[in-house]
């Protein structure tokens, strides 16, 4: 990413991704969050026709009757525009499951927000897409669970998904909207990274996200079924780097790499409470997708408090903002303003203390054991998926299942 950010001196670029890992990556010298984040992820609903085992939603899925009203979502969009947020990701679950998506898109457009629809696309018809485009929708991102239809439909547990996605992708480009293909990568499709790139070019996409699965929530539960080997991971990264050069000016390939095999942690969300916020279907405002897994945090709701006030003064946003909260080895680390100690939720999940160094960091005392476990899982045959659905959610959120993986080590 560094080359892109440097630009040629006249134009810097900042990534405003919806992925849990990149969030916002930008120049360290620029005050991105003077008063507001530049990106906002709105999880309009947790309802989804697909059941992917690596879903970034929390294990505890929000019920439909807890979802925010149309009026509240429209107010959120309007407040976001006023406070200086620049982009909104309309996501879920499946955002098109909301019958009022049209009104929410209109509100986002009116607020001056650049809107990204992040969809599985299996329930979207052409007339609706056309209407959304007319209302000011700026960009569509479609996930493909694999390039091989049979495998894709097994991973997403939705027969017939692939043809529907291909149809929608075609409509998106026909309507003149920019298209991103999202490719969630794991051990059961990592052999197809090259073919994903071919597919994105063939569909006329501007952008492809090679998003290696990150292991929180559902994906952590399914880690053994998902984590690729070190060699497979490395080969996929090298392939993407070669293809990026070949496809310069044709296709932008963004890559989210798995942090288990890195020496230093990712700068999760571009820093806590720095450039990104996430709103749940019920209106809770989170610093990241998985923040609800940290029990010491208190989350404000857009129904009770203004968005700007939550961003500036909310307990959850200030808990890990900056570097004052850090313990050793982060506190005295030369990279603390670069990677911000990595991911708080991963520290919580693996070490039971969100202030610990992310165990993806080689300086973490938990690093060796976590990586050894993952490597061992990757070398064994993949177990069956625990699909993301309400029944499995109920089973997975029983207290016994939530023990931190390495807390006692």
């Amino acid at each position: 990413m560094s080359e892109e950010i440097r630009g040629n001196g006249h134009c810097e670029t900042v990534v405003v991704d919806d992925e849990p890992t990149t969030g916002v990556a930008g120049s360290a010298t620029e005050a991105l969050c003077a008063l507001a984040p530049i990106g906002m992820l709105t999880e309009l609903t947790h309802r989804c026709p697909l059941q992917c085992s690596y879903c970034s939603n929390p294990l505890e899925l929000e019920r439909a009757n807890k979802e925010l009203s149309t009026e509240t979502w429209c107010s959120v969009m309007s407040q976001a525009g006023e406070m200086g947020i620049l982009q909104v990701h309309l996501s879920g679950g499946e955002p098109t499951a909301r019958k009022d998506l049209e009104e929410i898109v209109s509100a986002a457009s009116k607020a001056g927000l650049y809107s990204n629809l992040i969809t599985a696309a299996v329930t979207l018809n052409r007339a609706r897409l056309e209407d959304l485009a007319k209302r000011g929708l700026d960009h569509v991102q479609i996930s493909f669970q694999d390039v091989d239809a049979e495998n894709a439909e097994r991973i997403g547990a939705y027969p017939g998904a692939t043809q529907k996605k291909l149809d929608v992708a075609k409509w998106v480009t026909e309507l003149g909207l920019p298209l991103t293909i999202n490719a969630p990568i794991h051990r059961q499709n990592i052999h197809n990274v090259g073919r994903y790139i071919d597919l994105a070019v063939k569909l006329g996409a501007q952008r492809l996200e090679i998003a290696h699965v990150q292991y929180y929530g559902w994906a952590l539960l399914n880690r053994a079924a998902l984590i690729p080997t070190y060699d497979e991971t490395l080969a996929s990264i090298e392939l993407v780097e070669r293809e990026r050069e070949r496809l310069k000016g044709v296709l932008t390939i963004d890559m989210v790499v798995p942090d288990y095999y890195a020496k230093r942690p990712k700068p999760c969300m571009g820093g806590w409470g720095k450039g990104f916020m996430n709103i749940t279907p019920a209106g809770k405002v989170l610093p990241c997708h998985a923040a609800e897994t940290i029990p010491s945090l208190q989350f404000d709701n857009v129904q009770d408090r203004k968005l700007l006030d939550i961003w500036l003064n909310g307990q959850a946003f200030n808990a890990f903002r900056g570097t004052d909260w850090m313990k050793e080895p982060c506190r005295s680390c030369a990279f603390k303003d670069i990677d911000f100690g990595g991911c708080r939720c991963q520290a919580m999940a693996i070490t039971a203390d969100p202030r610990n160094t992310d165990p993806a960091c080689a300086l973490s005392p938990y690093h060796g054991e976590m990586v050894a476990l993952a490597r061992a899982e990757a070398s064994k045959p993949a177990p069956a998926f625990v699909y993301r659905n309400p029944r499995n959610a109920a089973a997975a959120t029983k207290p016994a299942e939530r023990e931190p993986a390495l807390a006692d080590s």
Binding site: N8, E12, T13, L35, G84, Q87, H139, G176, Q206
Partner: protein
């Protein structure tokens, strides 16, 4: 450019190119942060004053040469230097898919 891999479909910006921004890019003022931004799919570009001046002239009708001449007059600067700078800027943006010719 020598030694560089050329991808099919890559726009090579030269002095006769008539650059324009694709419709999905939005050049907007960002008053809270006192700057201009170019909004793109999951990207925010922050062009400096020079880049904004160039982008505002990228209307699909003016050639790069004409853009450079206009700016050279406006800033009383040598057109050769401006032209090189404009080409460099636009090629960089074209390689990210943000300029079409």
């Amino acid at each position: 450019m020598s030694g560089e891999i050329q991808s099919a479909g890559r726009l090579i910006v030269d002095r006769q190119t008539k650059p324009h921004l694709p419709t999905y890019l939005k050049l907007r003022n960002d008053p809270g942060r006192g700057r201009w931004v170019l909004l793109a799919p999951e990207r925010v570009l922050t062009p400096d004053q020079t880049a904004v001046a160039v982008l505002k002239l990228c209307d699909g009708e003016r050639t790069v040469e004409e853009i450079a001449e206009t700016l050279a007059k406006e800033y009383s600067a040598p057109v050769a230097i401006i032209a090189t700078d404009v080409l460099d800027l636009l090629q960089g943006l074209a390689d990210k898919g943000y300029i079409k010719g």
